[in-house]
Subunit: 233 residues, 2 copies
DNA sequence: CCAAAAGTGTTTTCTCTACACCCATGT
DNA sequence: ACATGGGTGTAGAGAAAACACTTTTGG
């Protein structure tokens, strides 16, 4: 059925901005690729790929992420679509960016390495090809906005984490210091966390209690409309 | 130069969610089209069009808007890209939505009419083709978010307007009543408005002072990072 | 016993909300 | 003189911000 005949078609791609949080270095990182192919071989880029005929943009993004990390069912959000005619010097490519939040420890390291992927801290990113730097900037903004409204932080931490780790994460996301007492008061008052009776004893002698995020509580929360502002100055 | 050969190409379109504010009826409206062509002839839809080879998505959206309304340099924001394989029953079309904020009185009425365009209140929209209803919902959400962060409301009003009109607009956007005194206190404390010495005397005997939005003041404002929350409960 | 990180409350400030009456004017 | 919509301020509640010391324990 050729209803729309004679209309120009376009190459359509997706690019994934893959965020991970390094709990030790307390840094928000991106999984970037040192390109092993032309164009721009040897340069750094986001993980991307073309959209097939029988898949949606979201499916394409999930596939790209899976091929790189071995992960499925990852938290992803569509971000923006870049359609400048000359953005890719090789050909006209329209690309939709997605950001993914993953737990760094979950990825298939071998697979990632094989594909030339490396974690790079957002505070000192290498130069990226094409308009990928703009993509990252926009995604980071989006993430910061989302983090005020949804508990996305938990996607970046292991199942169990301490309040100190959670605070460090938010400090890494917003690149600013947060008051410890206010942060704890606020996050605990939201009733989204369950305190476990186990302690993290690596970073301190005293040890810090582990907590777990309870998604069901968040459902209730989200129903009545709320503002999850952790962007404390 | 055929670097990316053998890769499937796609039809790419843009759809415009055109918001306007009817100052008399105090209603937020959308400029919708009664389709005069197949598929879905006679049904309502957003204004859309395919993306040409030599234009960006933004340019395509601006073109579509221009062809319908005769307006250029309109406030537009890219919103989301819809890439489900089956979203358009005629063919696989990937479509990026943009919302536009225009002053209702500015459009070329004849041109719009010729194209089958009509203003429809957002509170009672007709059924739309494909996934256009979803597009509208998402755009409206986005608009509500943006309105908290940027003074987008002024895009929808004439150059000069009264505080009552401005409040009515916000009430139409958020579909809720706002306290008059609190609203005025807040909006005036932002120092974005200039009081003119002219009154609107049509709707009342006493008359209401006209104001004008001062973009330069907003620049200063935006620099220091702020929260323009007019979503008063 | 001491170094190092975890944990804990109170006061002050500011922002948000609720609320009701007078004003100006055309008819 | 009155009906109609325009314009104005204050007090109370609740949220956000500032702030410093005690606790625990492995070495």
């Amino acid at each position: 059925m050729k209803i729309y005949s004679g209309i120009p078609k376009h190459l359509v791609a997706v690019d994934c901005i893959i965020f991970g949080y390094d709990i030790m270095e307390k840094e928000l990182k991106l999984l970037l690729i040192k390109r092993g192919f032309e164009p721009a071989k040897g340069k750094w880029s986001l993980a991307g790929g073309f959209v097939y005929e029988n898949e949606s943009l979201e499916e394409a993004a999930a596939r790209v992420l899976y091929n790189l990390t071995g992960l499925r069912n990852v938290y992803m959000e569509q971000n923006y679509t870049y359609g400048e005619v000359d953005r890719d010097p090789g050909a006209r490519v329209i690309s939709t960016s997605f950001y993914a939040l993953i737990k760094i420890q979950d990825i298939d390291r071998e697979l990632a390495e094989k594909n030339g992927a490396h974690w790079r801290s957002i505070s000192r990113l290498p130069e990226l090809i094409f308009d990928h730097t703009r993509m990252v900037e926009r995604a980071l903004n989006e993430l910061r906005q989302q983090a005020k409204v949804k508990p996305v932080g938990f996607e970046l931490l292991p199942e169990t984490f301490t309040l100190v780790q959670l605070q460090d994460l938010y400090e890494a996301i917003y690149q600013r210091k947060i008051d410890k007492r206010n942060f704890r008061k606020k996050i605990l008052s939201m009733n989204l966390l369950e305190k476990l009776d186990e302690k993290e004893k690596i970073t301190s002698k005293r040890g810090a209690w582990y907590y777990r995020f309870i998604p069901e509580k968040y459902e209730v929360f989200t129903q009545k409309g709320f503002y999850f502002n952790l962007d404390v100055s």
